[in-house]
Symmetry: C2
Subunit: 290 residues, 2 copies
């Protein structure tokens, strides 16, 4: 039993005329006649009462006309949707990201995605565990934004942009770009930063930074959550170091002082990803970049 056969049946059920119907569906009258016959045989159900002159639906035929018609419409709908998925116009991606891009890059990116792939469903996760390689290869995420460059034979990466890291201080704090001549002046400041023993990339970046400048910060609160850190700085509990992106959070009573140190953002995905949706999303990220 062919979908086309059913469609032809529906056409005939409307026309009730073999010749006209055959013409309409671009087959010969004999073919149509035999198609309907074979449909009837296969189902073991008489669909039409026909003498040499008239064609009319049986009760079963009426019933099937109604229900098949509905089902065929459903099917067409389903096939259109499947086509969309196949073409990556719709579907599902799981994205993991560092908190710092919450305020500028990520919303822009999601906006672009939504404009171009309105049927796409996105799952966002802000992983505490930063093992991007494993997240990707275990299919727990499809696209991983990361601050560190990942070198792995089965992962493709692309650097999207760099941005300065900044000292984050309360508005009236003595410190500004010009006043800061020597980092040793920060000796007595109370820092609110990620625990330096952490294995996250940002922690190791901080570790390097303080090493380079030869002093150890006085850490009074440890936190990995930028939003939390900003609020503590705003309440003048201490100062911190964060990527410039956090400025966009627009927390009041906070100033960002750019340092001569940059941090990168990479996008990572499984090499040879066959999923068209994911590939398409990766293409769009290139449009947004910085």
């Amino acid at each position: 039993m062919t979908i086309q056969q059913i469609k032809n049946f529906l056409e005939l059920a409307n026309e009730l005329h073999f010749w006209k119907t055959a013409e309409k569906v671009f087959i010969s009258q004999s073919t149509l006649s035999r198609q309907i016959r074979s449909l009837e045989d296969e189902m073991g159900i008489q669909l039409f009462e026909r003498d040499k002159r008239n064609v009319k639906l049986t009760d079963a035929g009426k019933f099937l006309k109604e229900h098949w018609s509905a089902t065929i419409n459903e099917l067409d709908q389903i096939h259109r949707q499947a086509k969309k998925i196949d073409e990556g116009m719709s579907g599902f991606v799981s994205i993991s990201y560092p908190g710092s891009i919450t305020f500028r890059f990520l919303p822009r990116f999601l906006e672009t995605l939504n404009a171009n792939l309105p049927d796409l469903k996105v799952e966002l996760t802000e992983p505490t565990d930063e093992n991007h390689e494993k997240l990707l290869s275990d299919y727990r995420t499809d696209i991983a934004f990361s601050r560190d460059k990942i070198s792995n034979a089965s992962i493709d990466s692309l650097k999207l942009f760099s941005e300065p890291i900044c000292l984050v201080v309360p508005y009236n704090h003595w410190l500004n770009k010009k006043s800061l001549r020597d980092f040793n002046e920060l000796q007595d400041e109370k820092f609110i930063i990620s625990g330096l023993h952490q294995k996250t990339f940002f922690a190791s970046l901080l570790r390097n930074f303080f090493n380079k400048h030869g002093f150890e910060p006085k850490t009074i609160i440890e936190s990995d959550f930028g939003g939390m850190i900003l609020n503590l700085v705003s309440k003048e509990i201490g100062i911190s170091i964060l990527p410039l992106s956090f400025k966009l959070a627009k927390v009041p009573n906070v100033r960002f002082v750019e340092l001569d140190e940059e941090i990168d953002l990479y996008i990572n995905w499984r090499k040879n990803e066959p999923n068209k949706t994911i590939k398409k999303v990766i293409e769009y990220v290139k449009l947004v970049k910085k």
Copy 2:
């Protein structure tokens, strides 16, 4: 695109193994491989990602597995129902009947129908216009019960049973079978009967009856509705003549006095009726008969 192809796809989508699936659906592995391929080509959608070793569903494939599965189940359901209709196990009949069979024959008949064809829908009409032939040929009714024999080349009839007609009197009325020696004794009785000028069969039967016995009844109320007549008799407003069947209405304070006159019940239907449901219903009526 074949229904079978879709079913095979669904099987493969579960098994994710060509050889096992092919065995399960009783075709060769090569055929299955090509069927899936042709499905993919026809839809223009990749359903499986497969290398020489592994088979897995694409996103579009997952989507179609889910939705096709639902649709195929619906279709199977629809086909079962259509089969029922085709076999006359289900469907629709319109039945017209004279009020007199409301109390005994019709409920029995409907009970039998319901027991044997539980999915059958029945429309009952008690026509005031008694033109059964026209009702049938205009498809306003499928089965017409009638009191008169219908002679019409395109209508088949069957006599189901005969029953006496009765004088219907209040309980304490002087009249009974033995006391009634001569119909002229009814000269002074007040009758509640169908207008004798009416063209209904029962009216003409009454006309004949009174002619035969050579007197004209004193009619105080004209009515064609047995139920109404019975209630009026019960209130001792007059007496009437009705088929014995009305006794089953069990209206209180009413006695039936059988006369030596019978009335028939016929069932009528369109000759060569192709509708299996109707034909089946006609068969069942024969089981109930009397």
